[in-house]
C-alpha cells in the first residue's frame, strides 16, 4: 500500500484557500461591481463619472497631498531618530526604540481619542485646523512604521564604510550624503511604502478628528453607506491602481533588497 505522505504542495492548500477566499474572490467581486450597473450590465459609466466629477478628482488629489505631507513629516522626524538610535553608542538605545514603538501596542481608537483630547486642549476648536490635525494624527500613527525599517537598515550599516569615507577625505556632511544616505535607501523606500499607502486610504483618523473634508477612504465609505456598490468599487479599484503605481515606482528596482526592509516587523 502506498503510504500517504505530506508534500510541500499539500501544505500549501490552506494558504491557497485563504488567498482565494480573502484576496482573489473579493478583488473579483470589486472588479465585477466596478464595471457593472445596477442591473448587472457591463458599463464604463462608473469610471467616466469618477473622472468627470470635480469632487472625486479633488478628493483624490487632497488624499495624495495629505499622504505626501504625512510621509515627508514622518521621514524628517524618523530619520534622525533612527540614526541616533542605531549609530550612537547609547547603552539604552533598545529601550528608547521601545518607547517609540510602544504606542503601537495601545488600541488605535484609544490613541486617537487621547490625541484628540490633547489637541482640543491646545487648539480649542478642532475644526479650525482640519489639515494640520489630520497630518498630526496620521504622523503620530505611522511614525513607528517609518522608524523601524530605517533603524534596521542603519543598524546594519558597516562602520568601516563610514571610516573609509572619512579616510578618503570626506567631512561629516559628505560622509552622510555620499555614503550613509545612499546606503539607507532600502530603509527609506520601505518606510515610505509603509507610511504613504495607509496614509492615502485611512479615513478613521479624519473621522475621529471631526474633520469635514473627505479623503479617498471616506469617499468610498460614503458610497457604501448608501449601498452604491458600483461607484464605491470603482473608486476602490482606482485607488488600488494608484497604490500599485506608487509601489512599482518606489520598490520595483531593488527586488533583492527586500530582506533589508523592515526586517524587525
Amino acid at each position: 500500500m502506498k503510504r500517504f505522505r505530506f508534500s510541500r504542495k499539500q501544505l500549501c492548500i490552506p494558504y491557497a484557500l485563504f488567498l482565494i477566499c480573502f484576496v482573489v474572490l473579493p478583488l473579483a467581486v470589486i472588479v465585477y461591481y466596478a464595471f457593472t450597473d445596477g442591473s448587472g450590465r457591463f458599463t464604463l459609466e462608473n469610471l467616466l463619472s469618477f473622472f468627470t466629477n470635480g469632487n472625486t478628482i479633488g478628493t483624490l488629489c487632497y488624499s495624495a497631498v495629505i499622504a505626501v505631507v504625512v510621509t515627508a513629516v514622518c521621514l524628517l522626524i524618523a530619520y534622525p531618530v533612527a540614526y541616533i538610535l542605531a549609530r550612537s553608542s547609547l547603552k539604552r538605545a533598545p529601550v528608547l526604540l521601545m518607547l517609540f514603538i510602544l504606542p503601537m501596542w495601545i488600541n488605535f481608537t484609544l490613541r486617537i481619542t487621547a490625541l484628540k483630547e490633547i489637541l482640543t486642549v491646545l487648539e480649542g476648536n478642532l475644526s479650525l485646523h482640519p489639515f494640520l490635525n489630520t497630518v498630526i494624527g496620521m504622523t503620530y500613527d505611522y511614525l513607528p512604521f517609518m522608524i523601524l525599517p530605517l533603524y534596521t537598515t542603519l543598524l546594519q550599516l558597516d562602520e568601516s564604510l563610514l571610516e573609509a569615507a572619512k579616510d578618503l577625505g570626506a567631512d561629516p556632511g559628505a560622509v552622510f550624503f555620499r555614503v550613509t544616505l545612499p546606503l539607507s535607501m532600502p530603509g527609506i523606500v520601505s518606510g515610505i511604502t509603509m507610511t504613504f499607502l495607509p496614509a492615502m486610504t485611512n479615513y478613521v483618523i479624519l473621522d475621529m478628528m471631526y474633520n469635514s473634508t473627505y479623503i479617498m477612504g471616506s469617499l468610498i465609505g460614503s458610497y457604501f453607506n448608501i449601498y452604491d456598490w458600483h461607484n464605491g468599487s470603482m473608486i476602490s479599484l482606482i485607488l488600488f491602481a494608484v497604490i500599485c503605481i506608487v509601489s512599482l515606482l518606489t520598490g520595483g528596482e531593488d527586488q533583492d533588497d527586500a530582506k533589508n526592509r523592515g526586517a524587525i516587523l
Binding site: 558597516d158 568601516s160 564604510l161 571610516e163 573609509a164 569615507a165 572619512k166 579616510d167 578618503l168 577625505g169 570626506a170 567631512d171 559628505a174 555620499r178 555614503v179 545612499p182 546606503l183 535607501m185
Partner: protein, 477 residues
C-alpha cells in the same frame, strides 16, 4: 644628509574604558620606509594604526606628521589613507566611483580624475574594470581596488590593516610580493599591520614587535630574527629554544647543565633567558658535544630533519639538521658563541598591593590567601585570626592594613576548579622554556600573574591560582 622623519609617535598611550590598550609607544618612521607592526591579536597594533589614521585619538602623547602635531586632527584632514582589513569598498558604487571617491571630494577636473583612475587601475593590474560592480569582484580583486582607492590620492603614508588576512595562502604570497614591489615603485611610506611573522619579515624595512600594548622590539627583520630582545620576541618570531640560565662569568652563560662562552657582556650571577635557534645547534659525537642528550624524535621536514633531544636535566632541545639521527641515539651538541642570545630574564617575582582581611588572609589580585602574618613584625607571635603580639608584648590588630605581597613565579600553580577566595583569570600568553611553560594569567582586576608550570594549557583558558601559605611573602608598606 639625515633623512627627515615623516611620522613620529611620542609616548602614545590609549585607554579604552579603563583598559590600557597601548602604552609608552615611541616610533619614528622615515619617508619611504615599509614599517610593520607585528604582534598577536589584541596587542594594540590595530589601535595604534587607527590612531595614525585618525579614527581614534591618543589618550596621551602626540603624533607628529612632518613635524606637525596631528594627534587630534580628524581623518579627513590627514594626508594618510588606509587599506581596511575587509576592504570597506562602497557597495553602492562601481569600481570607478570607488576609486574616484577621494578625487571627487577634492573637486578635481573630470579629465584629471579619469586619467588618474585609469593609471591607478593599471598599477593594480585591473585595467578596464571601471564599470564593474563591487559584488562581482573576487576577494583578490577587491583587495586591489581597495589599494587603488587609497593610493590614487597620493597619500604621504599608506596604512594597511591586515590587508591579506582574508585571502587564501597562494593569493597572499602573490600579493605580498606585489605590495613590496608597489612600495618600491610608488615611494610612499607604508605602515602595515599583521600577526603573520613571515609576512612581516618578507616585506618590511623595519618591524615593530608588539605585545600587550607595548613595543617589545623595533628593528630590521634580520635584527628581530637574529637578536631578539626578550623571550617573547624570540618565541613569536621563528622557532626557538628558550632556556632559563644564569651568567657564570661576564662572557659565559650557564644553562642546560653546562657553561657556554657567549658574546654578551652581562655581570656574573645575573638571571637570564637564553635563546638558541634550532638551526644553530650542531650535532656532534657525544664526546665532542658541550652537552649530551638522547634523541627523542626525528621528523623529516623536506629540507631538514627536526630533531628533539632530551638532556639529562630534562630540558628539551629542538634541532634542525640535515643529518639523520635515530630516536634513542645519544648525541652531542655544540652551540657557537654567536648563536647564543642572552636576554634579561622575565618576571621572577610577582608583586601585588594587598590588604589583610579580618580572617587574617592576604587579599590581592581579586583573591584571598592564607598567609603567615608574623612576617610583618619580626619575632611576633600570632594570637588571633588577624592579630599578632610583637616581641615587646604589644598586640596589633592587622585588619585592613596595606601590605606588599610577593610571590615567586615558581610558587604559583593553576587549577581549572574555581574555589572561593582563589584569584582567577585567563591565560593571556605562554612561552615554552626548555623544560617548562612560562604562563601569564590576567585576573579580572587586570593584574598579571606570571608562573611556571610543567603542563600545557591553552591560551584563553580560565584558571584559578593556588599559592601555598608559606610561599606568600608579606611586607608592610
Amino acid at each position: 644628509m639625515e633623512e627627515k622623519n615623516i611620522i613620529e609617535l611620542r609616548n602614545i598611550k590609549k585607554v579604552f574604558d579603563d583598559t590600557v590598550v597601548v602604552e609608552d609607544f615611541n616610533l619614528e618612521v622615515k619617508k619611504g620606509e615599509f614599517v610593520t607592526f607585528l604582534g598577536p591579536s589584541g596587542c594594540g597594533k590595530t589601535t595604534t594604526l587607527r590612531m595614525i589614521a585618525g579614527f581614534e585619538f591618543p589618550t596621551e602623547g602626540e603624533i607628529l606628521l612632518n613635524g606637525e602635531d596631528i594627534s587630534h586632527l580628524p581623518p579627513n584632514l590627514r594626508p594618510i589613507n588606509t587599506v581596511f582589513q575587509r576592504y570597506a569598498l562602497f557597495p553602492h558604487m562601481n569600481v570607478y566611483d570607488n576609486v574616484a571617491f577621494g578625487l571627487n571630494l577634492k573637486h578635481l577636473p573630470k579629465s584629471v580624475i579619469n586619467e588618474k583612475v585609469k593609471n591607478v587601475l593599471e598599477v593594480v593590474d585591473l585595467e578596464g574594470f571601471e564599470k564593474r560592480q563591487i559584488s562581482t569582484l573576487s576577494g583578490g580583486q577587491q583587495q586591489r581596488i581597495a589599494i587603488a582607492r587609497a593610493i590614487v590620492n597620493e597619500p604621504d603614508i599608506l596604512l594597511l590593516d591586515e590587508p591579506l588576512g582574508a585571502l587564501d595562502l597562494k593569493m597572499r604570497k602573490e600579493m605580498q610580493l606585489e605590495l613590496k614591489s608597489m612600495h618600491e615603485r610608488l615611494g610612499i611610506t607604508f605602515i602595515y599591520v599583521t600577526h603573520d611573522q613571515e609576512e612581516a619579515l618578507t616585506m618590511s624595512d623595519k618591524v615593530v614587535v608588539m605585545s600587550d600594548g607595548m613595543i617589545q622590539q623595533i628593528g630590521t627583520p634580520e635584527e628581530i630574527y637574529n637578536e631578539p630582545k626578550n623571550a617573547f620576541v624570540a618565541d613569536f618570531i621563528g622557532e626557538s629554544n628558550i632556556f632559563e640560565g644564569k651568567m657564570a662569568a661576564s662572557m659565559t652563560v650557564s644553562f642546560c647543565g653546562a657553561e657556554f662562552p657567549c658574546v654578551d657582556n652581562v655581570p656574573k650571577d645575573t638571571r637570564v633567558d637564553v635563546v638558541v635557534r634550532p638551526e644553530d645547534v650542531v650535532i656532534t659525537r657525544p664526546v665532542d658535544g658541550q652537552i649530551r642528550g638522547v634523541v627523542d624524535s626525528a621528523v623529516f621536514k623536506g629540507m631538514y630533519y627536526e630533531i628533539t633531544a632530551i638532556l639529562p636535566d630534562e630540558n628539551e632541545v629542538v634541532i634542525q639538521t640535515t643529518r639523520n639521527v635515530r630516536p634513542g641515539e645519544e648525541i652531542g651538541m655544540r652551540i657557537g658563541p654567536d648563536e647564543i642570545h642572552v636576554m634579561p630574564a622575565g618576571v621572577l617575582m610577582n608583586v601585588f598591593d594587598g590588604t589583610i582581611t579580618k580572617e587574617g588572609r592576604a587579599a590581592f589580585a581579586g583573591g584571598e590567601y592564607e598567609c603567615d602574618l608574623t612576617q610583618l613584625f619580626d619575632g611576633s607571635v600570632q594570637n588571633g585570626p588577624c592579630s599578632v603580639v610583637t616581641e615587646g608584648g604589644e598586640e596589633i590588630n592587622l585588619e585592613g592594613i596595606e601590605v606588599t605581597v610577593e610571590v615567586s613565579v615558581k610558587a604559583v600553580s593553576m587549577s581549572d576548579e574555581q574555589r572561593d577566595y582563589r584569584a582567577d583569570g585567563n591565560i593571556i600568553s605562554f612561552i615554552y622554556k626548555g623544560n617548562h611553560y612560562n604562563y601569564t594569567v590576567r585576573t579580572a582586576t587586570e593584574e598579571d600573574f606570571v608562573l611556571d608550570e610543567d603542563d600545557l594549557w591553552n591560551e584563553g583558558d580560565h584558571v584559578s591560582l593556588m599559592i601555598p601559605k608559606e610561599q606568600i611573602i608579606l611586607k608592610r608598606k
